[in-house]
Amino acid sequence: MSGFGTLLYKELLRFWKVAFQTIAAPVLTTLLYLLIFAHVMQGQARVYGAVPYSAFLVPGLVMMAVLQNAFANSSSSLIQSKITGNIIFMLLPPLSYWDFFAAYVLASVVRGMVVGAGVLLVSLGFVGLSFEHPLWIIAFAFAGSAILGTLGLIAGIWAEKFDQVAAFQGFVIMPLTFLSGVFYSIHSLPDFWQGLSRFNPFFYMIDGFRYGFFGVSDIDPVLSLVIAGASLLVLTAVTLALLKRGYKLRH
């Protein structure tokens, strides 16, 4: 196997070995959201005219699970390696910064997608869903998990302690996710908040992802994909620059 292939394999093996924590638990947590919100809101809200709230909610929750787990994977793996010192095993071999970046982000994509697929599969037992444009679903899931995997890598590179990663997650990732329209359509928001949501890149990922299911969305999915793609490119450039410099990894 190549250096990159080995690092990717190691990152996959790492979360697979603790799959209860990294896959089963987030699937269960997300399903609890579904159970509670769908129960409370059922019959009270219709979205896009005819879509029942529970059906509207499922793609939002799936995407939320994808994003959060992609972030968790790269950030926690890297900070653990930094704090325990075993990052040295990856810094001594001739791995390039590209290898390093691609392996961590791809493993995050896989973890995000696996958890998302788990949530989706179980949800289908309770909620009827349509799949209008499956390719859009996959494209947005990939872009979203890659963006969050990259953000996780940035957080892991920057942080020196576990609580700094937790702060990044609590003060950046969670607000951006919860305020992105996971639980509501932004058209139900007052104008001010609707305007503000448009500055949140996570909103486009979730809106576009939803389009794949219902064929309806708040924003043109092409625009959403362009915005997600541009975000990914910018974050990738930033991360590669950090890795190339060895920022907080090589002194």
């Binding site: 196997m1 190549s2 690092l7 190691k10 603790v18 325990t84 075993n86 040295i88 001739p94 090589r250």
Partner: protein
């Protein structure tokens, strides 16, 4: 012949601390080389620059002719590093750890060599055990094995025997000697000077980021112009005139510093005049520790402006 390691004018500063100031050093292929110095002298910084973990502010470093920055892939393939800290990845078993490490170097079908390394280091019985379950000594062996998975021609051991029991230390040195006999270049840092003396053909001593001595081990020891006289006396105390010579004392056994063999007569006469009876006498040759202490001390004297007038070092401090 291309040096195994070539270090030229390397400088490194961490904030206010000048860790290395102008290191020049060549290590020839096949050498067993020692890097000694007190804590904070810059040994680990130098090794980390060699390994690409730290970047030098100035100067160049080559491993087997490959620049550690420009040709980092080749230089890292040529180098195996056993880090000082006892680090491990708690997710994996010993075999997984070694396979992954081998894979990071892009090696395929390396299981035969991994098995061989495990066997040499007595790890075969623990191959499937999780890293967390191993004792400190076993974890240290895995670190050595990890440094060897890609068969590097140059091996650096950064204080590999700190906190390791005697048996493992012996076994480890036997193994490393074997590697050296097979042609590997070895660079060792250690605080156990008797280990360095027994193993290293050549030694560099570092202090405050500078090389203050660089020579073969035997030349370094010969450089020391003194020797020791060990006496057991009875009947009277050691005369006060000899107190300045005492290196250490255990009950009636005194170890005195001498400048040369000619001083033996005078010392014995003084002991006799004091009315003491000579029970036992032994002449001791200096060892690397004496030289180390002397060199570290002389440096300080020079810094204060002029070499110490006395040829004798201050009472030996505990191992730095």
């Amino acid at each position: 012949m291309t040096p195994a390691i070539q270090i030229q004018q390397v400088h490194k500063r961490f904030g206010a601390v000048q860790a290395l100031s102008g290191i020049d050093l060549d290590v020839a292929p096949g050498e067993f080389f020692g890097l000694l110095g007190p804590n904070g002298a810059g040994k680990t910084t130098l090794i980390n620059i060699l390994a690409g973990l730290v970047r030098a502010d100035r100067g160049s470093v080559r491993v087997m002719g490959h620049d550690v920055v420009a040709d980092y892939r080749e230089s890292r393939r040529a180098l195996g590093v056993v880090p000082q800290e006892l680090v491990f990845d708690p997710f994996f078993s010993v075999r997984e750890t070694l396979r992954l490490q081998s894979g990071y170097f892009g090696l395929k079908h390396n299981d035969a060599w991994i098995d061989e390394v495990m066997q040499h280091l007595d790890l075969t019985g623990k191959a499937e055990a999780n890293m967390r379950s191993l004792s400190g000594g076993m974890k240290r062996r895995v670190l050595v094995a990890q440094a060897l998975v890609h068969k590097p021609p140059v091996i650096v051991l950064d204080e590999p025997t700190a906190g390791v029991d005697v048996e493992l230390r012996q076994g480890l040195w036997e193994f490393v000697r074997g590697l050296n006999r097979d042609g590997h270049t070895i660079v060792l840092t250690t605080h156990y000077l008797e280990e360095a003396e027994a193993l290293c053909g050549r030694i560099a001593m570092l202090k405050q980021g500078r090389i203050v001595a660089l020579d073969t081990t035997s030349n370094l020891i010969n450089r020391w112009d003194g020797l020791y006289l060990k006496l057991r006396i009875s009947g009277a105390a050691l005369p006060a005139a000899l107190a300045a010579r005492v290196r250490d004392r255990r009950d009636a056994v005194h170890t005195l510093r001498l400048r040369n063999i000619g001083e033996v007569e005078g010392v014995l006469a003084q002991v006799r005049e004091a009315g003491a009876q000579l029970e036992e006498l032994e002449l001791l040759q200096p060892d690397l520790e004496d030289v180390f202490v002397q060199i570290m001390h002389m440096e300080e004297g020079e810094r204060k402006g002029g070499r110490d007038a006395s040829a004798f070092p201050a009472p030996a401090a505990p191992h730095p």
